[in-house]
Symmetry: C2
């Protein structure tokens, strides 16, 4: 764990770095790129369904992280933008499929009706499939000024992140744990690592790979990502209890109602908060060697524990 | 259309080339590679569901075509095998999702219960997602001795083939045409081009790209593939009427029962057979410059019209 003095120092650095403006500007860049990435074509219905969920807002944290690490490692925003968009396509696909009646059966997402409630189950399944496939096409076809072996590396990681060794495996474990009240913290962490952490880690690492980062930097950034990924999930569990539906843009208190095992249910809210803070401090410690260049990544880590939705 | 004398000549060449042994040997190579490509890991259930459909047999025509064009263009079987496996993962994924209750609602496929009938809808959706993602990972991570820019090209094509510009778009048009009895031949062909033709074309073309084939060869092989792809679909429609359930390994007469517009319903059986033969002759004509090297591709084209299932 990072010592208190260091934390204060980072906090004061973060105060200098204007994260709100940074996130707003980056989010706007990403939204524009996403809009351009998927123009409507025939058959219109499926493109509209894909765009409905892809352009439904959200924090765009994965693309923003990808762009940030690409810059940190000496690359440009342009080099990483197709991958940044692909990360959001993959994330959106996982939300569309998770919300289906055969899965979590959710009616609302980000304050809007879920994809299958608007377009029907058949189109929602296909919209997810289409987004997933297009994510790979887009990275392979639209990435420019990056050596092709680095593009291949990123595509391999993206694939692994969605596969049974990542998102899909995590969702299976999550479905299996439903209704069980004896889930251990280790199992909960494994589910979240696969379902949420893996994609965050790939977001962070792929930006660095595109910029040509070496193994040591990739390893440091991986550890940073693993820590903020888990902190993110702990905070999500806390917010499900403490935030309102308006703040979340989705049904609050859902975990409690479903008697789902969460970090607060295992550790209590205070201890969960402390664990999240410790992870974020650890994540920030991984960035020490980068100096000011890593300011966005430090501020994002702090934001993850302080966010209200 | 190719003249009758030429057709006879090709037929006699095919008699010299032992297609049955060739397909048997290649199918066995592909089956072994598929089995090795996806070992069971945790969570076992999802790997078992993926393997259940991936290893359920079938003609393995797409991987066999990919290996054949890679060899034709001067490459090796080893260079193309990961892509060959990926093509079958993608094909399998599209079958699993098409069979879902929200889509075509099929109980049997290749004489076995469909994936969701065995594992449930949730796992079937995830097994499809997992196979799709893994297909890209496998090509990116397992392809060896191929320049990375060629691997990137293949990945871009694979993505496009599944996306809303390919399989997914075709399935949407297919769902939209359900119950309609006024579908024109052009619409029917567009649906099949997207749903079936695109993946066959990618199978053929990706083998050549991996081997480093130039634009002219890729164009010739694309036309070959488009023609056999459409012929394949016409023959499928004919077999749905003329073959038995035992021959097909799936419900026969389904199109008639669903009052689906098919080539035989538009053109009659005899004209449909003639059109399929004309396409196959045209496909074979594209291969003229390759001499004996293209013998497998010629024999496969002939097989497509003469097959019984």
């Amino acid at each position: 764990m990072v010592k208190a003095e260091e934390r204060v120092e980072h906090n004061s650095e973060s105060a200098v770095f204007d994260l709100t403006s940074y996130l707003k500007q980056r989010k706007s860049l990403v939204e524009e790129a996403l809009d351009r990435s998927l123009p409507v074509s025939k058959p219109e219905k499926i493109y509209e369904a894909m765009r409905y969920s892809l352009l439904a807002g959200g924090k765009r944290l994965r693309p923003i992280l990808c762009l940030a690490t690409c810059e940190l490692a000496g690359g440009t925003i342009a080099m990483a933008m197709p991958t940044a968009c692909a990360l959001e396509m993959i994330h959106t696909m996982s939300l569309i499929h998770d919300d289906l009646p055969a899965m979590d059966n959710d009616d609302y997402r980000r304050g809007k009706l879920t994809n299958h409630k608007v377009y029907g189950e058949d189109i929602a399944i296909l919209a997810g499939d289409g987004l997933l496939a297009y994510a790979f096409e887009y990275v392979a076809a639209a990435t420019q000024n990056v050596p092709p072996q680095q593009v291949v590396k990123v595509l391999a990681r993206l694939g692994r992140t969605v596969s049974a060794a990542g998102l899909v495996g995590g969702q299976v474990l999550d479905l299996e744990s439903e209704g069980k009240t004896d889930i251990a913290a280790e199992t909960l962490t494994l589910i979240h690592t696969l379902k949420t952490g893996a994609l965050l880690e790939t977001a962070v690492v792929s930006g660095a790979i595109l910029a040509g980062a070496g193994a040591e930097d990739v390893a440091k950034l991986s550890r940073y990502a693993q820590k903020i990924g888990l902190a993110f999930q702990i905070v999500d569990d806390i917010l499900d209890i403490t935030a309102t539906k308006e703040e979340l843009g989705k049904t609050a208190g859902k975990d409690l109602e479903a008697q789902k095992v969460t970090y607060p249910s295992l550790w209590g809210i205070e201890e969960s908060k402390a664990q999240a803070q410790e992870l974020v401090d650890g994540a920030i410690a991984e960035l020490e060697s980068y100096g000011e260049l890593a300011e966005p990544l430090r501020a994002i880590a702090q934001y993850i524990v302080s966010r209200k939705n």
